[in-house]
Assembly symmetry: C2
Homo-oligomer: 197 residues x 2
């Protein structure tokens, strides 16, 4: 756990952060590695939270063509279709979304968009953390980062095998720790921006 001791340093926005919602490879309830289905509400909720905290981009990662098409149809409705007129605020949020087949494609995309080497950061409630929220906040002053959230029962071991840093897990009040990924994303953005009265 490295922490440069600049607690309280505040970012103006999270524009150098991109978030990945990973649908494969992830674990299912039995611990098998699978591709999970894209959930409409994950896209809306995480996009709204990301937009509120100034996150730079929101990558939906799924290798399944049909799932990619589903996301494209949803985006077409809200960005150009009837939804764009009905709810322009939703359009602003969903415009953050890009669809990628793999986490490496998202990393390449974010590297190109920022013109700099992004720091990939893994997350998971039960994983051994190597990076504190303060350390990630400090890193964001220097370089872009890609925050990777798993769906289903979490990011598969093969991704943890890449050796990327793992963000501190969000500890609650006790043993129970089953935050929805939508809630975990919001809390992470809030902790990283640390915009408190």
């Amino acid at each position: 756990m490295f922490d440069q001791g600049t607690q309280g340093a505040q970012l103006v926005s999270l524009s150098s952060l991109a978030v990945v919602l990973l649908h494969a490879p992830v674990l299912d309830r039995r611990g098998d590695t699978v591709s999970s289905a894209v959930t409409n509400l994950d896209l809306h909720d995480i996009a709204r939270s990301a937009k509120t905290f100034g996150v730079g981009r929101f990558y939906i990662v799924t290798p399944l063509k049909e799932q990619q098409r589903l996301v494209s149809r949803l985006l077409a409705h809200w960005l150009d279709g009837h939804g764009a007129e009905y709810n322009p605020k939703r359009k602003q949020a969903l415009a953050l979304i890009s669809v990628c087949a793999t986490v490496d494609e998202a990393l390449d995309n974010w590297r190109r968009e920022t013109g700099d080497e992004p720091l990939p950061v893994l997350t998971g409630a039960a994983k051994q953390a190597t990076l504190s929220f303060n350390a990630l906040r400090n890193a964001l002053f220097q370089q872009p980062a890609l925050l990777i959230l798993g769906t289903g029962w979490g990011i598969a071991p093969e991704i943890f095998g890449r050796g990327w840093p793992v963000l501190s897990s969000i500890q609650g009040a006790g043993e129970y720790n089953h935050l929805p990924v939508r809630a975990a994303a919001a809390i992470m953005f809030d902790r990283l921006l640390q915009n408190r009265e």
Copy 2:
């Protein structure tokens, strides 16, 4: 904005806090006062976040009998029915839920359950705050509180007319501030517990 200056004081859990998800009276997109429909996912997500942070109770407030029955059916499925076996973790979270017709009924219930006078606290993105997160955290050491979240386009003015304190709004990175109520609840619990590495 009163703040007793004990920043960093940490609660062990949020057991003296109850949360209300208010479905009436709330505003709709045109600014009219209405009863909103209960959303299945609000119940699941806020219950899971509440359970994770040790919140004492989660009141669903709706005066509509049909909506109350809908919540009861959902709870029966997850607490006693097939859902309880399928997902015992979900059962633990949803067991926090009680249904009430009005915010006063929730307040009475929480007063009886805690044996003490609860502090009602209002929330709303655009409202003038009178209570900081630190002040509410400090209050929770002394007395129970009832944190009231609005659905739709927010809590109706008649509830603000009660003169109850208003919690600081969650500020993001700029003008855009459209957090889902599910995300706002999670962030509020995290800020109040303040359980950081």
